[in-house]
């Protein structure tokens, strides 16, 4: 259930160019969040809240981790928060990745700032004994983060658009290298998600999708996405942000 919670910044760290990792203390969120869910962050002076994925959870320490890129005035402000600062958030929001899969080997596909939600999901899946392969794509070496964290979960391939690290190219460039995984889980910019869906038409896959949001809780119809089912649409904030690749029209 979504609650309005106050989280306390425990630590703030720059993990890549303009990319910040915040560890946030909050009992309720740490106990209830599922991989792929997000928090809706209030920032003083801004009209709308900002949706940010939950990238990791530590139930024992009662913390959640978020990772975000400074891409505008709001994320710039959150990046300036110091340990001890309190933030008003709604969460956990939305439906995350499916946790009940019986697959043995899964592929994580992350593009840029779409990487974070995959980490907590991968961790959870790894704990249940699944084999994890990850392909993480970044613009450039300076944007790269969490490589080691993903390596601890399993084989991890890095691609950069400019070739400054790992293979040069897009996440899709590596698809022919990979064999017999059972399903994929992708998060990243819409063009990447489109390409992934197109290249892997016969795989079971899940996509985590971004859209500009008003309420973040399903009340305002800002964040709809057309679907193949009879209702014709879903709300990304409430029904998603994770959807089966077959279900949505990108």
């Amino acid at each position: 259930m979504i609650q309005k919670e106050t989280v306390t910044v425990k630590s703030s760290k720059t993990v890549a160019l303009n990319t910040t990792e915040l560890i946030l203390q909050n009992e309720y969120l740490s106990q209830s969040a599922n991989p792929g869910q997000f928090i809706h962050v209030y920032i003083d002076g801004f009209m709308l809240r900002r949706p940010i994925s939950i990238a990791d959870v530590n139930k024992k320490e009662q913390t959640i981790t978020i990772l975000f890129k400074q891409s505008g005035k709001g994320t710039e402000k959150i990046a300036s928060y110091q340990p001890g600062n309190m933030i008003d958030v709604l969460g956990p929001c939305g439906n995350g990745f499916p946790l009940e899969s019986t697959d043995d080997k899964i592929l994580l596909i992350g593009g840029g700032i779409g990487v974070p939600p995959l980490y907590y999901f991968g961790k959870k899946m790894s704990e249940t004994g699944k084999e994890i392969i990850s392909i993480l794509g970044f613009q450039s070496k300076k944007d790269l983060f969490y490589e080691q964290e993903f390596q601890q979960l399993g084989t991890t391939y890095i691609v950069t658009n400019d070739g400054t690290y790992g293979d040069k190219g897009f996440v899709t460039s590596l698809f022919n290298k990979l064999e017999n995984y059972d399903s994929y889980y992708a998060c990243g910019p819409i063009p990447m998600l489109k390409a992934v869906k197109k290249e892997l038409p016969n795989k079971v896959g899940y996509l985590s999708i971004e859209e500009r949001m008003g309420c973040g809780i399903g009340a305002c119809f800002a964040c709809v996405i057309p679907t193949t089912d009879q209702t014709g649409y879903k709300k990304i904030c409430k029904d998603g942000p994770v959807f089966s690749a077959q279900e949505v029209l990108l």
Partner: protein, 304 residues
């Protein structure tokens, strides 16, 4: 404790606070945060004759102290609303106001007629001011003759009190108000959103897929207050005031300016508890400013 009850014609309210149409869905999501019975009323998201998908996304954009929306009246259609949403809201001890929209006068009429047959709806709010649809909506809201025609058509088929929701995108708001008053409106809702635009600098084009959207939030509050006060001086109808309300002080400003009750829209997105918190704060604020009852505030707008 100060009673907050206000008596609008055909629509007695336990307090003057209600969520604005389109900013509260059909209440389901907010019911997880607090008991909706606390609200004076709930104004539902606009209903049209058939289900509508609305505009392409992005549908919202942030602006200074405001936001633009171009939802485009997405809704499951009047039948579905009556079957699944009204019964849900009827579980709560609050008034239900149905916001109705259409591309044609006969669509408005049909939707009004359907709600009129439902026992649980207490009033109609006729949205002649949606800036985000190609047909209907704002055309009806910027021409007094058209506005009067819609009002008459809805009144013909409805025994429920009819509030006509005015657009602020007009030169002369009082002529709009007078026109719908003459056509039989029982009250006014003021105001809907101001049409605006935001540019996506990277894409070198409007940020919203629909290009323009409706501006709401604190940014428009001064315009809303001015229009309400202007209308109150010339047209003798109760007014549900809205536009940027985010605190009990804001509510008091609207009531002094001439509103008889208020609706809270965009602020629900920033703080889902806002309506509940305002209801708690209102008696405190009334006392702070020397009022012993809400009635003392209301109805003087024409003389300030």
């Amino acid at each position: 404790m100060t009673s907050l009850a206000v008596h609008l014609p055909g629509l007695p309210l336990k307090n003057p606070i209600m969520p604005a149409s389109g900013c509260f869905g059909f209440g389901r999501e907010f019911s997880q945060f607090y008991d909706l019975s606390k609200l004076g009323a709930v104004i539902m998201k606009a209903a049209t004759g058939e289900a509508r998908y609305g505009n392409q996304t992005p549908r919202v954009a942030e602006t200074s102290a405001g936001m633009l929306n171009a939802i485009g009246l997405q809704n499951p259609g009047v039948e579905s609303i009556i079957q699944t949403e009204v019964p849900f809201l009827a579980n709560y001890n609050t008034s239900i106001i149905a916001n109705i929209a259409g591309s044609t006068i006969s669509e408005y009429k049909m939707v009004a007629e359907k709600f009129n047959q439902t026992k649980d709806v207490h009033a109609l709010e006729v949205n002649i001011s949606c800036p985000n649809v190609k047909e209907g909506g704002i055309q009806f809201g910027t021409d007094p003759v058209m506005a009067a025609k819609v009002t008459e058509a809805v009144k013909e088929v409805s025994n429920l009190p009819v509030y006509v929701k005015l657009s602020p995108n007009v030169t002369d708001i009082t002529s709009m108000a007078s026109a719908v008053a003459s056509a039989g409106a029982d009250g006014l809702s003021m105001v809907n959103t101001l049409t605006g635009m935001k540019i996506n600098l990277s894409k070198r084009k409007p940020l919203l897929a629909n290009k323009t959207g409706g501006l709401s939030g604190p940014a428009i509050k001064p315009v809303a207050l001015r229009m309400i006060n202007e209308v109150k001086q010339q047209v003798n109808l109760p007014i549900i005031g809205m536009g940027g309300i985010a605190s009990a002080e804001d509510v008091l400003e609207f009531l002094i300016a001439g509103a008889d009750a208020v609706a809270v829209g965009t602020a629900n997105f920033q703080n889902p508890f806002i309506c509940s918190e305002i209801i708690d704060q209102l008696p405190v604020i009334l006392e702070q400013y020397g009022y012993s009852s809400i009635q003392e505030v209301i109805g003087k707008g024409a003389r300030i």
